[in-house]
């Protein structure tokens, strides 16, 4: 009996320790969040007074009124949504092709695709930049979307998923000599919705948070994504008169994705952690 009590006691202590650690962990976020409601001139003198007045919404008003943030959000939405949809289409087709159909050279081509998993993005940005410059694709949505569509990981993920779907589901349809694309659309695709959701969330988050390629490809401020735009506002960080303004930008950019995370927490965790395991 005492042993069980001791175990519970130890468990409580562990929980208490992690809770304190978690509070320390989110202190930077709370600090930034609270100070984003303070007037800029107040922050010149005090950055340690969080929970008492003065409070103001001016920083947020400034974001909505004067800055280009709303345009960046629109860009981010267009790029991320288009990337996600196109990736789902292209990767589902290819995944089905590799997992379920026969054609000459299939295994060699699949190995070639898997080899692409080893290529780091940084190794190809210079040639990509030249290619896109020749095609006049920089500072366009296409320029931001296209490189992501070639990621071999999404095809690998969909191939694994389609391989796991039992074959006899298709066989009945195959005997009727239904065309392959009809089987794909009517029988297999509806079964793959969980995988589509996982890959979709994963792709959307990655595209939304993408930094290196947009930094290289989008040089005009009106083509910035939100992630890139926030980087641009940080460059004149030294004259930090607008401390509250900077903080409200962090909150403004972070909050939507954070709320999305709270809503779809389970899916996001499976999308991010689950896709890595496979």
């Amino acid at each position: 009996m005492t042993k069980i009590a001791g175990k519970q006691f130890g468990d409580r202590i562990v929980l208490a320790c992690v809770t304190i650690f978690a509070l320390v962990w989110i202190t930077p976020l709370i600090w930034v969040f609270m100070l984003s409601f303070k007037p800029n001139d107040f922050l010149m003198a005090h950055t340690n007074i969080l929970f008492s007045p003065p409070f103001t919404l001016k920083n947020y008003n400034d974001i909505l009124g004067t800055s280009a943030v709303s345009g960046w959000i629109v860009n981010s939405l267009i790029v991320s949504i288009a990337t996600t949809f196109l990736t789902l289409i292209v990767a589902s087709l290819a995944g089905y092709g590799f997992a379920r159909t026969e054609f000459r050279g299939k295994s060699i081509l699949f190995i070639l695709v898997l080899a692409g998993l080893a290529v780091p993005e940084q190794a190809i940005v210079i040639p990509l930049h030249r290619m896109f410059a020749d095609l006049d694709l920089h500072n366009t949505y296409g320029g931001l979307i296209l490189p992501r569509l070639a990621a071999p990981f999404s095809v690998y993920l969909m191939t694994q998923y389609f391989k796991a779907i039992p074959k006899d589901i298709e066989e009945a349809a195959l005997l009727d000599s239904t065309p392959r694309w009809k089987i794909f659309l009517r029988v297999v695709l509806p079964l793959s919705i969980p995988a589509q959701a996982t890959l979709g969330i994963f792709t959307f988050l990655n595209s939304w948070n993408d930094y290196l390629w947009p930094l290289i490809s989008a040089s005009k401020p009106e083509m910035y994504t939100l992630t890139l735009g926030l980087a641009a506002t940080q460059t004149n960080f030294a004259q930090s008169e607008g401390l509250g303004y900077l903080m409200s930008q962090a909150v403004f950019a972070g909050l939507p994705i954070f709320i999305l995370y709270l809503f779809f927490q389970k899916h996001i965790v499976t999308a991010v952690a689950g896709t890595t395991v496979r």
């Binding site: 900077l246 995370y261 952690a273």
Partner: protein, 309 residues
């Protein structure tokens, strides 16, 4: 005529190795993979080889000239002190961050592998920062490290300590970036370890409890052996991810002070898109690629060996 036709047919059947069904359908199957493969060849295969080719050339952007220089770019890299420093900084950063990711991820997973609300909330806190973009994370942490008004300054002065400004110190800049990186990304290793822990059969622990094994002992002989593979996976993932560190340093330190925090990818980016020395930058990118391939191969070899034991 009919006979001829069937000979013809069987020839083609054998040629395409079609088996029982008809051939046109098999050719049709390539259309499933064609859209992806064309994007893949265009946007990945071709750039890999152009990148390699560029690294043997000197590119004059103004004149539009490309001159083949052989291994000159690579020779220059070896003699470039900043490049050698960048290679060293990259390894140092991996060494600073990857072990913390593995150990802290495992500790959090062990502590939070519990049913109920408290566990769920705490897991959400530690994973939550992973969904933020690098620019939000660096914005928050630059404010934390801000001289005179930052959170770190406030905390240190309120504890009566001499405040430090880590991003302006050559020895503290990379550790400070590593702390930010761990804060950003500890959710992933934690979740990977959690799903490994949940797959350990409960019976093993019950049997151990029957034998009066201490908690410490059952951790040592049940938990650790069962998550060995996950630990290897987490290590591989984190080494690969942290080897590619870029955004945090580009936004927080710009490689400074005095190049103390410039890693390989920042070197590639600055050589390529700040100094527009494209051939030189491409050569540095090949070095990064080669180092990562070597790293992955060595790690696969080690984990296969330890797996065979």
């Amino acid at each position: 005529m009919a006979n001829n036709n069937s000979v013809f047919r069987s020839f083609w059947l054998r040629w395409f190795a079609c088996g029982a069904s008809n051939c046109t359908r098999h050719w049709g199957n390539t259309f499933f993979v064609l859209p992806y493969l064309s994007l893949y060849v265009w946007l990945l295969i071709v750039p890999v080889f152009t990148g390699l080719w560029l690294s043997f050339n000197e590119i004059d952007l103004l004149a539009g000239d490309i001159t083949f220089v052989g291994l000159e770019n690579y020779v220059n890299l070896i003699h470039d002190e900043i490049f050698r420093g960048a290679v060293w900084n990259t390894f140092y950063f991996v060494l600073l961050s990857a072990p913390v990711f593995v150990v802290l991820g495992l500790l959090l997973a062990l502590a939070l592998n519990r049913p109920g609300k408290a566990g769920a909330v705490l897991r959400a806190i530690f994973f939550g920062s992973s969904v933020l973009s690098v620019t939000i994370v660096t914005l928050v942490w630059r404010l934390v490290y801000l001289p005179d008004r930052g959170l770190l300054f406030n905390v240190m002065t309120s504890m009566g300590l001499e405040p430090i400004v880590p991003l302006l110190s050559a020895s503290l800049a990379l550790p400070a970036v590593a702390l930010t990186t761990v804060w950003w990304g500890v959710g992933l290793p934690m979740m990977l370890f959690l799903s490994a822990l949940q797959q350990i059969p409960e019976e093993l622990y019950e049997a151990a409890a029957m034998d009066n094994a201490t908690r410490w002992r059952s951790f040592w002989s049940i938990t650790l052996p069962s998550i060995k593979r996950t630990a290897a996976l987490v290590t591989t993932i984190e080494v690969i991810l942290q080897f590619q560190i870029f955004g945090q340093v580009q936004l927080m330190t710009l490689g400074g002070p005095d190049n103390a925090s410039r890693p390989l990818v920042l070197f590639i980016y600055e050589a390529g898109f700040r100094q527009w020395a494209l051939g030189y930058s491409a050569a540095a990118a090949q070095v990064l690629f080669a180092l990562m391939l070597i790293g992955v191969t060595v790690q696969a070899w080690i984990s296969r060996r330890s797996h065979a034991d």
